[in-house]
């Protein structure tokens, strides 16, 4: 309950002109715990094409370790495409192709020789719509573990620990064998996060993880993201600028496939360098 109250107050504050400054102060204090900046991933001159349509245009930016990097921008600006490129989900689309590099752990992960199956275990993804498998809750977590031939007792432990990490254990421990579809939307989304965490990834990609959720569920997922960044590097695409301001350390603003501005969230939201960034975050266009 207290979390909830805080949130509603925050939401009221957003209407006031001074809200950005207040919000960013909070974030600065929070992110000061993680002062060390270590680049985990580097996008170099990255372009993504769907057939002849260039959806992402020559992007250079780092993704820092144990930080939340937010991608904001209007619909169709290429932010989801960029995110799906990081774990090669765009390989599913036959007309998609890449140019440039994503350097991760000393390797350009866009190379053809990369084993995308292993890559996706290390770089997990959570999608916009909660998409649990139509199976029991427990089997949603064990689905991918079984392919990795983990021993049974280890699987049991992972089910519990990943549900705990996703703050879902208390709500589901008595009904692990119920259908995942019996959970609420917010619980389903946290289950999807737990499912990704079960693989012990290093990076978590979240594609508008709260856009299909109600405010209370969104708040829970946001709290979870803040908690998870201690152990994971997180990249999140969001439509919701307040959310980006609340949860991210770095923000990238994209427009029409271009990266317009990238920087520390507190700086970008209070003192944007580009006119278009300012117009977007002040709501002049969306």
């Amino acid at each position: 309950m207290p979390k909830l109250d805080k949130r509603t107050i925050n939401e009221q504050e957003y209407d006031k002109p001074n809200m950005k400054k207040r919000e960013s102060k909070e974030i600065r204090t929070e992110s000061s715990e993680f002062n060390t900046t270590e680049t985990l991933m580097n996008l170099k001159n990255l372009s993504v094409y769907y057939a002849d349509n260039q959806a992402v245009k020559n992007i250079d930016m780092p993704i820092e370790k144990n930080k939340v990097t937010a991608f904001i921008g209007p619909s169709g600006c290429g932010k989801s495409t960029l995110l799906r490129t990081i774990n090669r989900m765009n390989d599913q689309i036959s007309v998609a192709r890449y140019e440039g590099e994503i350097n991760y752990d000393g390797l350009n992960i866009l190379r053809k020789e990369v084993d995308v199956v292993t890559l996706r275990k290390e770089i997990g993804m959570v999608f916009q719509e909660p998409n649990p498998f139509p199976k029991p809750i427990k089997q949603n977590i064990t689905h991918a573990l079984k392919f990795m031939k983990k021993p049974k007792n280890e699987i049991e432990e992972i089910v519990e620990s990943s549900l705990k990490q996703a703050a879902l254990w208390e709500e589901t421990k008595d009904r692990l064998n119920n259908s995942a579809l019996s959970l609420s939307g917010g619980q389903q989304q946290r289950l999807c996060i737990a499912r990704a965490l079960a693989l012990k990834p290093k990076v978590l990609l979240l594609d508008e993880p709260t856009s299909a959720l109600d405010p209370i569920s969104s708040a829970k997922v946001e709290d979870l993201i803040m908690e998870l960044k201690k152990h994971y590097t997180i990249a999140v695409v969001t439509h919701n600028m307040e959310q980006a301001a609340r949860i991210s350390d770095n923000t990238a603003f994209m427009y029409n496939g271009d990266l317009i501005e990238f920087g520390e969230t507190s700086r970008l939201f209070t003192n944007p360098r580009e006119k278009r960034t300012e117009d977007y975050i002040s709501g002049k266009f969306s």
Binding site: N87, M89, Q92, S94, V117, T118, L119, R120, K121, G124, M125, V126, F127, E129, N131, P132, F133, P134, K135, P136, H143, A144, K146, F147, S179, L181, C192, R195, A196, L199
Partner: protein, 306 residues
């Protein structure tokens, strides 16, 4: 207040109009649709009642024992005739054909929806839809000229056999199973496939653990529909199965099915004879089985995963 207003104006544009021409049109449309529905229902009931009456007569008018009829073999057109060999033949052809066609059909459905999407949907699917429309006599003809000699020369026996029936009927129901399965697999929302790929599952793991389980009720429906078609198939089976009135002992033996015996014997019986009545009873078994298949399909397709 509201009531008072209502009673004041009887001629408001939002009130139901008394315009007779639009009412007539509406009535005509209703009549047309209603009559079609009634005719279809009457036809179904009439066929069932007629076949039921004709089929049951055997056991009441001609004193044929139902138990004997269902469980013994030996078909001589008298009161002692037993239809077990044909019932067995029909079921054997149906299940063997399904056994042959289900893996192939579902496999090719997966191939054309998940693996070779472009090629599969542009080329394979239209080809399979054409196969559905080929008349069964053509399948029978190919069976007689190609498959029967092939079995005779390379496997053994006369060639006219359960095996030939299984292959011909299996190929016949293959397109049915394939196209229904392909539609079912295509209907699976892409987000659960994304979820599986996103968790680092390979394509085969995704097909095996996510796509097939999610599509299972529809795949079962596809198989049962194929089996219903196999059970009712007469012409193609009759051309290749040999039509021997005893119980087959192996796949290479000739056999007969309910349908093939009806089409073979019907011209040789006189109306009102025991033999004729016995054939009606075979027809009744076919009708009952087709109802059973429909019930199975209803049951299977209404059963949602978990």
């Amino acid at each position: 207040m509201a009531n008072a207003q209502k009673s004041e104006t009887n001629n408001h544009r939002l009130l139901k109009s008394n315009n007779s021409s639009s009412k007539k049109n509406e009535g005509r449309g209703k009549f047309l649709v209603f009559t079609s529905a009634v005719i279809v229902i009457i036809a179904t009931i009439a066929i069932t009642v007629f076949l039921g009456y004709k089929g049951i007569r055997t056991f009441f008018v001609y004193d044929v024992s139902l138990w004997n009829f269902l469980t013994t073999t030996g078909w001589d057109g008298t009161e002692n005739s037993g239809a077990f060999a044909f019932i067995f033949g029909s079921f054997a052809v149906t299940f063997l054909a399904a056994l042959f066609a289900a893996p192939l059909g579902i496999g090719s459905a997966i191939f054309m929806t998940e693996i070779a999407k472009k090629w599969g949907q542009k080329f394979l699917q239209p080809v399979i839809e054409i196969l559905v429309g080929i008349p069964s006599v053509v399948y029978g003809l190919i069976g007689v000229t190609v498959i029967v000699p092939l079995i005779r020369n390379h496997v053994g026996g006369l060639g006219f056999s359960l095996l030939a029936g299984m292959i011909v009927v299996g190929v016949m129901i293959l397109p049915t199973i394939t196209s229904i399965s392909a539609d079912a697999i295509k209907a699976i929302p892409s987000d659960i496939k994304d979820a599986s790929y996103g968790l680092g599952a390979t394509r085969w793991q995704t097909i095996y653990k996510v796509i097939i389980p999610a599509a299972l009720p529809s795949l079962m429906t596809a198989i049962v529909l194929g089996m219903a078609r196999a059970f009712g198939e007469a012409l193609a089976v009759q051309m290749v199965i040999g039509n021997v009135k005893g119980l087959p002992e192996s796949l290479l033996d000739s056999a007969a099915t309910l349908t093939s015996i009806i089409t073979l014997d019907m011209p040789h019986t006189t109306y009102g004879s025991v033999h004729n009545s016995l054939l009606w009873s075979l027809g009744l078994i076919l009708l009952i089985m087709s109802y059973v298949f429909i019930i199975i399909i209803r049951f299977v397709s209404s059963r949602r995963k978990i």
